[in-house]
């Protein structure tokens, strides 16, 4: 198992897709902070609602960073997951891996472990850039720097890691299902940005919301619910969530496990041609 993890780490640490995604996520955080800072200091500059400068200071950085997790962060995780598993088929590297002495399941577990490490790295990058950006804003605005409680930072990081992991696992499962990256990536993004949104809206509209509980089972709904638990009064009034944080976490963990188990089953049972 250790050997498999070592091999997976060796091959991903040089992989451009992971570096590009890390860079994009960092840029996204900086861009979001920069835009909101401009909007906060130039009220009326756009048609958008005014942004409170208080939301951009370090004590609020966790709440702020959470917004980058979904759907953009999730989309990036789907792309990474699809590339990570799908390209093993198109490059023919899967047969090289599977003809070594590790079994198929061991190979898969090693791969998942390293992917989860990368999701953790992306989370750390997002939080580090968010924190740094908030310090820059506070410094320029001559505002005292105060940090949120460590527990809140931990909870926020765990939530983002879980959200990225679920989406990444979806990408990996689709990559394994289709045995290539392109179809997996396409379907994953269509699911994220269109399919589930349409499905949830349709289900919620039936019989005046009689089947809303079904819509609430979708991963996107639960991700949104989890993200909305990270807020504070400075962000303005928040709509009451129909899904609690604990339930959202439970549902997302079930999705994560399901995607990984299905993909493992496909890898174990199917011929590698």
């Amino acid at each position: 198992m250790i050997a498999t993890i070592k091999a997976e780490w060796r091959k991903t640490r040089f992989r451009p897709a992971f570096f590009v995604t890390s860079g994009l996520l960092a840029l996204l955080a900086v861009f979001a902070y920069g835009t909101n800072w401009y909007l906060a200091t130039h009220p009326g500059a756009t048609q958008r609602d005014a942004v409170s400068i208080l939301t951009l200071y370090p004590d609020q950085f966790v709440n702020n960073v959470m917004l980058a997790g979904f759907p953009i962060g999730a989309a990036m995780a789907i792309v990474l997951g699809a590339l990570y598993s799908g390209s093993e088929y198109s490059w023919g590297t899967l047969k090289t891996l599977l003809t070594q002495r590790s079994g198929r399941l061991t190979t898969w577990i090693g791969r998942v472990a390293v992917f989860e490490i990368w999701m953790a790295i992306l989370t750390v990058i997002l939080f580090a850039v968010g924190a740094a950006s908030s310090v820059v804003v506070a410094s320029f605005q001559s505002h005292a720097i105060a940090w949120p409680a460590l527990l809140d930072v931990g909870k926020g990081m765990a939530a983002i890691w879980l959200i990225l992991s679920v989406s990444g696992a979806l990408g990996m499962a689709l990559g394994t299902l289709f045995k290539n990256s392109a179809a997996a990536l396409g379907l994953g993004l269509v699911y994220l940005f269109a399919l589930q949104i349409i499905a949830v809206r349709f289900i919620d509209s039936i019989n005046n919301g009689a089947y809303k509980w079904i819509g609430d089972l979708f991963d996107g709904q639960n991700t949104n619910a989890l993200l909305h638990t990270f807020t504070s009064p400075v962000f303005g009034p928040a709509a009451p969530a129909s899904i609690g944080a604990e339930r959202a976490v439970t549902v997302l963990i079930i999705y994560l496990a399901a995607f990984l188990v299905v993909a493992a089953g496909l890898l174990r049972q199917r011929d590698v041609t």
Binding site: A3, T4, K6, A7, R10, K11, F14, R15, P16, W91, G92, T93, L94, K95, T96, L97, L98, T99, Q100, R101, S102, G103, T107, D271, V272, T273
Partner: protein, 310 residues
């Protein structure tokens, strides 16, 4: 009582299949009841036209695909079992490596998975003469370099059995010659090599035994010598009656076959000089004298029913 004979068989054969069959979901019968045995220490040529079932058979031997029916034992284990794979090095179809990584880094990944020390990476790179280019990205390699890196990857485990699926695919004549030399060198140390190919010359030059597969069926399995049949000498001489007498006196009536004005002699072609001398001494004019040997190509086309030159 049966246990010693099982051990004995495992000592002799390193690959053994019984009625190995693969039918794909689409209904295509890719491999049909193949009984194949590869002996330890030999270079076994697995011959067949494109689409005959060579790669499917090899994929089953390394556990990449599961047979529909039949059994196989490879290096004493079920195909695909970690213990068996530990003793097998394989290059199946094209070499599969990460294009964004160097040749050396790719081999290090394989070495990690194979449980082999990193020192071995440099050894195998040296064996395939890729050391100077090992730092270049795999994606920039030529076809020949890719194939050689594939062989290096297969050699990492210092395997008892090396399975090479069409290693000369896509190589130019020089690359093919280099690959042949490499395989011969690899086989020197008593290692078993199972080589699939549709290049008859390659197989004829390298292999001790061959199995010919056609339409998913193993149509023959024997030594190259057995497959090519007896060697002989063809003679055309005048006057033919007197020539027949001389040749019959030399080799006996059963070794002389007269056909279309030619004498087909079942004898060592090394006798050609003596045949010529005897005929000339008897005042017989020799217009043609040449060794006779069936080529593997002829045998192959005969066995597979393929048309030569098609």
């Amino acid at each position: 009582m049966s246990r010693p004979s099982v051990i004995a068989m495992e000592n002799i054969t390193i690959v053994e299949t019984h009625s190995l069959t693969k039918r794909y979901g689409s209904g295509v019968l890719a491999v049909n009841s193949v009984d194949m045995s590869v002996r330890r220490g030999e270079v076994y040529g697995f011959l067949g036209p494109n689409g005959a079932g060579k790669t499917t058979t090899l994929r089953m031997l390394v556990g990449l695909i599961r047979p529909t029916s039949g059994t196989a034992r490879v290096a004493g284990h079920t195909p695909g079992s970690p213990a068996g794979l530990a003793r097998i090095g394989a290059l199946i179809e094209s070499p599969g490596f990460y294009p964004y990584m160097s040749g050396r880094e790719n081999l290090k990944v394989v070495a990690d998975l194979a449980g082999v020390g990193q020192k071995r990476v440099d050894e195998v790179l040296d064996m395939v003469e890729l050391t100077s280019r090992a730092g270049r990205k795999f994606g920039t390699y030529s076809t020949g370099m890719k194939q050689r890196l594939g062989v290096a990857g297969a050699l990492l485990k210092d395997p008892d059995l090396l399975i090479l699926d069409e290693p000369s695919n896509g190589l130019d004549p020089q690359g093919m010659a280099e690959m042949r030399k490499l395989i011969k060198d690899i086989a020197q140390g008593g290692r078993t090599v199972l080589l699939s190919s549709h290049l008859l010359g390659e197989v004829e030059q390298i292999c001790d035994r061959v199995g010919v597969i056609s339409g998913g069926r193993l149509v023959i399995q024997s030594t190259v010598q057995e497959l090519l049949g007896e060697k002989g000498v063809v003679v055309r001489a005048q006057p033919s009656d007197r020539a027949g007498e001389v040749l019959t006196r030399m080799f006996g009536p059963e070794a002389v076959v007269r056909e279309d004005g030619y004498f087909h002699l079942k004898t060592d072609p090394g006798q050609s000089v003596e045949i010529n001398r005897q005929l000339m001494a008897s005042g017989i004019g020799v217009s043609e004298l040449r060794p006779f040997e069936r080529s593997l190509e002829e045998v192959f086309f005969q066995l597979t029913g393929e048309k030569q030159g098609s």
